[in-house]
């Protein structure tokens, strides 16, 4: 166990030194505050900037606070995922490519701990960035529209965070058997997009799909209690994560590390 702590500490130190702990939370905060602000000022912006004829009346429905927050979620769902994948696509593949993984794993280091430490450190960074991003969205929505109950915000944050955990797990999984970070990024994104598309089209059939968690997260803002199938979707997502993690360790152990 102490070895795991050593490995995890190294991962956290590395992401601190290459500023991931600065730019990732900042990006999520930016994504989070964008929608409350643009939604609030959009009519004014159109009024002053838009090249509209004299006397034209713009009537935009004022969105509810819940709608604004789910817009932030949708925003993070596009750019946030891209950023997460880009940030973790080289986490093992890069070390294997450079050869430093061989330097480390020739020591009595558990492959399990090696993979898990990278997974956990990426997860920590993601959960904290997501929390700060959504918190900023909640706060600005509160200021500019109205405050929604904090517990509602927490619920949608957790639901959405579970989906992003799977995104990271998928990236780590491809990291375990591909050596080129760019390829890992591409295939991870492709997997996520396909999963998203298929689950979006076959909503009835794939109600348990992990990719549905995003819409459950925004639905949970609009209604009391959990949307239907949410629990099943969570259980399935966690199961897939466990299977992917174990498979990655298994594949990684079989890989020849020498470059």
């Amino acid at each position: 166990m102490s070895q795991f702590v050593v490995l995890l500490k190294k991962e956290l130190l590395e992401s601190w030194r290459n500023f991931k702990w600065i730019w990732m939370p900042l990006t999520f905060i930016l994504l989070g505050v964008m929608d409350p602000i643009t939604q609030n000022y959009l009519p004014k912006i159109l009024d002053t900037m838009g090249d509209l004829p004299e006397g034209a009346v713009i009537q935009l429905p004022v969105p509810s606070a819940e709608e604004v927050i789910s817009m932030s979620l949708a925003n993070i769902d596009m750019l946030g995922i891209l950023i997460l994948v880009l940030a973790s696509m080289g986490i093992i593949a890069g070390e294997r490519k450079s050869g430093v993984a061989a330097m480390i794993l020739v020591k009595p280091v558990s492959h399990h701990y090696f993979v898990m430490s990278k997974w956990l450190s990426s997860l920590l960074l993601m959960w904290i960035s997501l929390f700060l991003g959504l918190l900023a969205s909640w706060y600005y929505t509160g200021l500019l529209f109205e405050f929604i109950p904090f517990s509602d915000f927490l619920l949608s944050f957790v639901l959405y965070g579970i989906w992003l955990s799977l995104v990271i797990t998928i990236t780590i999984f491809y990291n375990a058997f591909l050596k080129t970070p760019g390829l890992v990024g591409f295939i991870s994104l492709a997997t996520i997009i396909i999963l998203n598309m298929v689950s979006g089209i076959l909503t009835e059939w794939l109600a348990w799909s992990p990719a549905r968690l995003m819409s459950y997260a925004s639905q949970s803002l609009m209604q009391d209690g959990l949307p239907e199938n949410t629990i099943a979707s969570i259980v399935l997502t966690v199961l897939i994560m466990i299977v992917l993690l174990f498979t990655s360790v298994f594949i990684f152990r079989k890989k020849e590390l020498a470059v």
Binding site: S2, Q3, V6, L7, K10, E14, R17, N18, S98, G99, V100, A102, M103, I104, L105, V106, K107, P108, V109, E256, L257, A258
Partner: protein, 302 residues
Amino acid sequence: MSIISVNGLRKSFNGLEIIKGIDFSLQEGNCIALLGPNGAGKTTTLRMLSGLMEPTTGTITFRNGTKGEDIRKYIGYLPQYPVFYDWMTGFEFLMYVGELGGLSKKKSKEKSLQLLELVGISEAKNRKVGKYSGGMKQRLGIAQAIIHDPLLLMLDEPVSALDPFGRREVLELLEKLKKQMTILFSTHILNDAEEVCDELLFLHNGQLVESGTLESLRNRHQKSKIDLEFKEKPEKYLNSITESGLISSMNVEGNKASITVVNLDEAKQTIFQHASTNNWPLTKFEISRLTLEDLFMEVVQK
């Protein structure tokens, strides 16, 4: 006692056989050089021994081979081109590797400082590894390989990237380490092998072509050879001894002659006689010792 033994080791990449079945065992406390030209399979062999590569067939047994034991804790390995985390300082990297090797934080710190001193880069310990020179990286590589006190230290071309001073120092370091652990290092620089090693393994085209102690190899391959050097062209003097039947071959180059003889003692006497009676203008007489280079050439060409 043998520390590691290798049986029928083979390795293929995409159907191309790189290691074609080698067997050997290393005695504890020895320093062994793995010699061979480029592409002989030295690196591949070391990688298999260190566990970084799976052999295609064959077995590697460590000590008496407790089943299922993680042998990595007994092994220190330095690849030919060591790589580090560039964002760490040399000291941090050693600390990290030491703790991964099972040392406590305190012990690892102590050991890291001590090793940085030993390999001579302690003044750069707080500099980022990314800023290290090639020689410094090589030294840091040696330090990280021995931080967990391995029983077997394997070094892949540890000195080829170093300048003459660096080489000298690393060889002296190996001389010291020899007392604490078994060392196996690959090289194509023959002098280095001759200097620190007790035992040699010759690898050529994926096969072990020769092995043994330097002395036993010398005895096995020693040819009776005499080198002569004259003040002028030697041909006219040497004619007198070519007829004696003592000489199996002769090679003349400028003022030098190198003579392979059938019987060293008889030939020596004959040459001395001729030299004194005919008053040869000799500047040098040497019974040549087989150098590692000769041995290398011979073994490789065989």
